[in-house]
């Protein structure tokens, strides 16, 4: 009996102590107390986009002056070309055009990806506005790459409303290019049909 009373008293003391040592806040308002802002790749890429597009345009070199074998992980390029073919895969999520650059006579094959899903991280890898070290970890770094690809679609590709009618047209392209084997993949940052 005595033990039970002591037990209850201890329990009451614990409850009293704990309820005295608690801060109750509205759900989701932690930020006001901590000042911590969660990482948002889209917000970050949005504000960086103009600088990055400008940087890539500024650094871009004509494709005919490049040794394509050294393209590797990515370079900024610009060129004028003729559209050879428009392809659409995966219900229009993987659109692309194959092109023939002006004055090019080599046997590389050139593809411009037009989304809405973009592969690779070429834009992120050629820009210097943000570095890997600016991010907490590679997850954020890869989210950032994806967010930049989304910017490409929103700002560059989507407004043009490209479809199979572009075949045979001439196009001016600035963008980031990568190569695997003899295939060059271009992610555009500026594009205009004539």
């Amino acid at each position: 009996m005595k033990a039970k009373i002591i037990g209850v008293l201890i329990l009451v003391a614990i409850v009293a102590f704990v309820s005295n040592q608690v801060l109750v806040i509205e759900k989701g308002t932690e930020g006001q107390y901590t000042g911590v802002v969660a990482f948002d790749a889209n917000a970050s890429s949005g504000s960086d986009w103009q600088h990055i597009a400008a940087e890539i345009s500024g650094n871009a070199v004509d494709i005919n002056t490049l040794d394509l074998a050294e393209l590797g992980a990515g370079k900024s390029v610009k060129f004028k070309a003729t559209v050879e073919e428009f392809t659409s895969k995966a219900n229009g999520k993987r659109n692309s055009i194959t092109i023939k650059p002006e004055n090019y006579s080599g046997n590389y094959k050139f593809t411009v990806q037009l989304g809405s899903i973009y592969s690779g991280t070429a834009i992120r890898d050629v820009q210097t506005v943000k570095k890997f070290g600016d991010f907490t970890n590679q997850t954020e770094w890869s989210q950032y790459a994806k967010a930049l690809n989304n910017q490409v679609h929103e700002n560059v590709v989507a407004p043009l409303g490209i479809n199979s009618e572009v075949k045979g047209k001439n196009v001016n392209i600035t963008g980031a290019a990568t190569a695997t084997g003899s295939e060059v993949l271009i992610t555009p940052v500026e594009m205009s049909f004539e």
Binding site: I14, V22, L23, I25, E26, K27, T29, T34
Partner: protein, 342 residues
């Protein structure tokens, strides 16, 4: 002549763990030039504290003839609950509760006790073998620990001034050059020794483990005594959950995986009999140090991970063999003494 010989061997055997500890320290001091230094010894003490505290609770459980396999998982679960309370708070409806660190410590110790209590109730009232019960709670607690965050780590253990929950890291820091865990180890060891040797309850642990039937005939509530042993074990495990989280500055759901084995090993090395009824706190502490010195010593000597495991296993088996030898010799000497007095 032979009798004196026996007595000498007996004394050596009784103090064997301590002798082994001294020999190990001497050995590693020669094997690794940097071993015998204040820094190294502090480090060893810090590492020993982790499973030493678990072993304290385990000593009570094993003395009563049981076993607690759940302690390692309780370490993980308590760490995750504490980490979650600091980083995400406790959401209840549209309110979120952020507890202060002292409150979190109290709550987590309660969680440890609660799991111990559940273990004890299942073992005594529902008559399930201790091995099975705690094996079950071991899996359950590990699952809950992972479930709390879906396997992710809680990294913001430091807390935020604005939320008033700063301070857990102090449990992982050094105070006056000695890690906080070592203080906790010392205090809990002291309390455990007092409890076991200086209170009626302590006698009851030994009585229930030594001869449960007689204990019942003496009017001791053996079920309650056993339940208390598991509560103590859970309490100790909760401390390790907190200390480990503080030391890592992060709560990791895999924390404490397999530590119950270290705790059992330390307890057994310390001379606690797996069949219950005998054991000392000081023995357990020395046992924990033996394991700690072997671990850290071998690492500093560059012994490969695989060999470390082999040697650790051999040491444990050797300890039990020697323990058995001691018991046999003791029985032999008692018989001898009796025949002489006849």
């Amino acid at each position: 002549m032979k009798k004196d010989n026996n007595q000498l061997v007996m004394t050596l055997l009784k103090g064997r763990t301590f002798i082994v500890l001294i020999l190990l320290v001497i050995f590693f001091s020669f094997a690794s030039s940097s071993f015998l230094s204040l820094n190294t010894l502090t480090m060893v003490a810090k590492h020993v504290a982790l499973y030493g505290i678990l072993a304290l609770g385990m000593t009570f459980v094993i003395i009563t003839g049981g076993i607690d396999l759940s302690v390692g998982s309780v370490v993980g679960l308590v760490g995750m609950l504490a980490g979650g309370l600091i980083q995400e708070g406790f959401t209840f409806g549209d309110k979120t509760l952020y507890f202060t660190v002292p409150a979190i410590i109290v709550l987590m110790l309660c969680v440890g006790c609660l799991i111990g209590w559940i273990n004890g109730i299942i073992i005594t009232k529902l008559n399930v073998a201790a091995f099975i019960t705690t094996l079950g709670t071991m899996y359950i607690c590990r699952g809950l620990a992972n479930l709390r965050s879906n396997g992710a780590t809680f990294a913001s253990i430091g807390g935020f001034e604005g939320l008033g929950n700063v301070g857990l890291k102090a449990l992982g820091a050094d105070w006056l050059g000695i890690p906080a865990g070592v203080y906790v180890f010392a205090i809990l060891s002291f309390m455990a020794a007092i409890l076991l040797n200086k209170t009626p309850t302590g006698w009851h642990f030994l009585a229930v483990g030594g001869n449960e039937k007689s204990a019942k005939l003496s009017g001791i509530k053996s079920d309650q005594v056993k339940i208390w042993a598991y509560i103590i074990s859970g309490f100790c495990a909760a401390w390790i959950g907190l200390i480990n989280t503080a030391q890592l500055s992060a709560a990791h759901p895999a924390s404490g995986d397999g530590w119950e084995m270290n705790a059992i090993a330390a307890t057994v090395l310390g001379g606690t009999s797996m069949s219950g009824g005998s054991g000392t706190i000081i023995g357990t502490i020395v046992g924990a140090f033996v394991i700690g010195v072997i671990n850290d010593g071998m690492t500093m000597c560059g012994v490969s991970e695989f060999w470390q495991k082999i040697i650790r296993g051999a040491v444990i088996i050797l300890a039990v063999i020697i323990d058995q030898t001691q018991r046999n010799l003791q029985a032999k000497m008692a018989l001898q003494a009796r025949n002489e007095s006849k």
